[in-house]
Amino acid sequence: MLSLWIFRRLFLVTLVALCGGAFADVFDHPVTAASKVEMSRLLAPMKKFRGVEGEFKQTKSIKKLNRDFVSTGTFNISKKKGVVWKTQKPFPSELTVTDTSVTERSANGSVRTIATKDNPVFAEFSKVIKAILFGDISELEKKFKVFYEAPGEFEMKIGLVPREPAMRKVIANIVMDFSFSLDTSSTPFVPSLNRVLIMDGDGNPVTYEFLKQTKDIERPLNRL
């Protein structure tokens, strides 16, 4: 159960970092051999990213309380250096995930670091990050049942349902919403992760919106 807890947190980090869009009907479209090829082709440009940075908006909706908790901040995902999430409002906090550790800085400045050494959960987390960053559907399929839908020419939705029943009690499903834009480089369509919706086991959605994204940026994490 421990693993579940850690994995739950870290996997969310991974997915939210890179995904967007929440559309329940994507789960009507399990990935097929043909759609997998198409999905892989569309995600292929992501393999060339060295990093992504931008702003995010997180909305936690608690149905029972009929209340939303909204926070905003910045994110930076670097292929080499890891992932940094800085929540700025309403209370500052920071989450840094590297290959070797996960560090959480709370609102009052206290820091807690967990080393990833010899920890399979973090190793898995790292794998999942890379899988999404590089559009590696095969790796994602190990942990999730994958669903895919392309409702429009410049849109793509990927749905993920954890294979692990125990994990489904925490994360019922995830929907990532991509859009595509023309790039000035040789790649004609660059996928952009706009929104991620994570539905928890109690049916409370957590939505992440990604704004002002800049891709292919390689910047030291401590400068963020």
Partner: protein, 810 residues
Amino acid sequence: MDRKILNAKTGVILWVVIHAILIALGISVPWKMDSDLYSVLPDSNEMKNVSAAEKVLSARTMRNITVLVGHENFDIARSAAVALDSAFAQDSSFDEVRFYVDEKSFDETHDFLYKNRYTVQGANVREALTSQNLETLKFNALTKIYGVFSYANLNRLEEDPFLMGEAAFEEFMQRSFSMSGRFSLREGVLAANDSNVSYVMWSAVLSEKIPSMASDDHVLGRLDRMLDSLKKNYAGLVIAKSGVPFHSFESSREAKSEIAVISGISVVLILLLLLYVFRSPLPIFATLSTIAIAIISALSFTWFVFGNIHVFTFVFGTSVIGVSIDYAVHFWTHWKERRAESADVSGSRSVRSLIFKSLLLGFMTTEFSYFALTFAGFPLLCQMAVFSMVGLLSSFLSITLLFDAFFDRNVISKSRKFKKNVAALPTQVPAAFLKLYSYFPKKAGWLVAILFVAALMPGLYWLNIHTDLRTLYSMSNEMKMAEALNAKLSNLGISENYFIVEGESEEDVLQSEEALTERLVDAEKKSLLKSHLATSAFVPSARTQAMTYEGFRRLFFASDSLQNITDFLADSVNSHLRGIGVEHDSAFVAGLNTGANIVDLKSIVDSPSIPSSFRSMLKMLWIGAVGDSSSRRFYSAVFPLHVSKKFDAVALAKDLPNVYAVNKMHNINDALTKISHVSLQLVACAYAAVFLILVLVYKFKTAVRIIRAPVLACLFLAAIFGYAGVDFNFFAIVGVILTLGIGIDYALFFNEGGCNNLTTTLAVMLSAMTTIISFGILAFSSFTPVATFGFAVLLGIFCCFLLSPLSGKR
């Protein structure tokens, strides 16, 4: 023992009665063979109750087994593990089988900690309460609410606006985290990866009623067969077994085959030797019968006294063959000599009366040595001593009572009739042996002895009396690799050092634990260890729980001018509530006013109502009540994890009442080394007593001459260990003790028979040869302790045999 005192009929009746009693006692108790490697070890702690608590803890952990089922393809590894689980999940030989991860456990633990959020908290929250630091609690809650990827349950925010239930759950998970190692949940089971192989964990707790002795229908035997069949069905399957029961099972299986081989070779070689010497089946048959009866009697009585018999005792016990044969050999050599004599034997002394004095003295001295060992305070040694004493007694009685009745009288009555059919004893070898000693100048004996001792001095100087159990057990490569893999993947970091905490009550133990864990937390800050496991970390003492509850009330409620806690929330608390949108504080206040919800360890320790995750932790850490009604106390274990080399458990526990630092391996080694010294001292005392008896019987000079050979032989064997730079361990010392016990017989026989008596020389040669064969073969045992023991006796007896002719009158 003269026939006037004890006639043949009385002798036989006496023999039958004694043996019937010995065997009947053994039959009266259930028979149990023990092959547990640790069960016969000495107490590793001087405090009786603490030692008993350690044993309870060890007994519990030593029944755990783990099987890692691995394959490059996880699905195959999982399928094989599922098949394994299906075969054994309902097996009554296991108290518990763990395979599928209980999905409910997560929610159960979460709910339990939420329910007890104002009493069961970790050190960080308690510290904030002690310092009345509301800000820390507030910001931690805000981080959980607004921080990214925090999946704290916010459904209960009205009731728990500071998310104290989540804080307790987080603390619990961190503790649990340190126990999961590299395993993680995968498709409902625990799995880990290593070198591109996915391992699925299957573990179980062996039932207490299952013997550790290997047998065809033993559950571990069935498990082995199942694993073999899985390997055949799933190509490329890798199996790694771990746990003490596997080692005990493997050891006993090897011991069984070794006993068969060692006994078989001993018996065959000895038979051939006896056949060569006696050229008649009668002495051989009678001797073998004597040995068989001696072993059965020894086995029965030992069983009766100890309730079980350890396989090591049984292996050592095969040496009874060598010891008990000596007496028979002496009887039969003299018997044969008498039969071969052409002179009229009527009216002459019986064989028994000829050898009785030396036999009795030899018997007494050997028994004295064994008897001394029973005071050494080491169960295994005590068992071996009792086994050997009874075996020897049986042999002695068989020869002096039975042989006398059935064979000795025949010598006198029929010697003339059968005289022509009796071949002469083969005395060429003893004659040649004695001839060598005839070149030895009579007055040079003491000079040679002095030179001999001088040559041994450097070896004795370098002698290191020390026992290290780790060097005595060598596991197979397969087992070694499996244990290493398991340790690597589980990465629990439990060190040899841990703590036993004692108390008059459960609450006492928890309070003492908390004093200890405060020091451990300080040590963690100094990087002396990474973390620790303690019962109080999961269930704090009632005192701490009450203080935690009071701390919350003081922090959350306003105080009036008299510092009394009011029923109104403090302004800063109200401000926090408003900040997170909690408009009504009634649910929060009601939760704080329900009273301290003290979690009572006593009531939950075996309760099925507590979360299974808590139960499994408590099973590992909580020892419980130990001792009878008058000395009953409570115990728990505290394990420091991933300790550094600088971690000093003894210093950490210093001045903490009822906290004992334990290093079981170190303590056992110390205990064995101490027992080695005590054993040597006891035997020295026994030998001093034997010497006094010999002085009374033979006078001082002769007594010294008799005792010289075994004593010098022991110095020789000790010096060889010193020269070789090998630790003179407990088992080598047992060899010394046996050399002293057996070796003196040779000197006595030579003294009684005279150093030029061919029959005596032949008898001693035969005795020595049979002893050397039976013990020498032990030197080839795969069990290092047995091999060390066999080698020590081999050296000692060989040297004693060479020196013993110098004990006779020249």
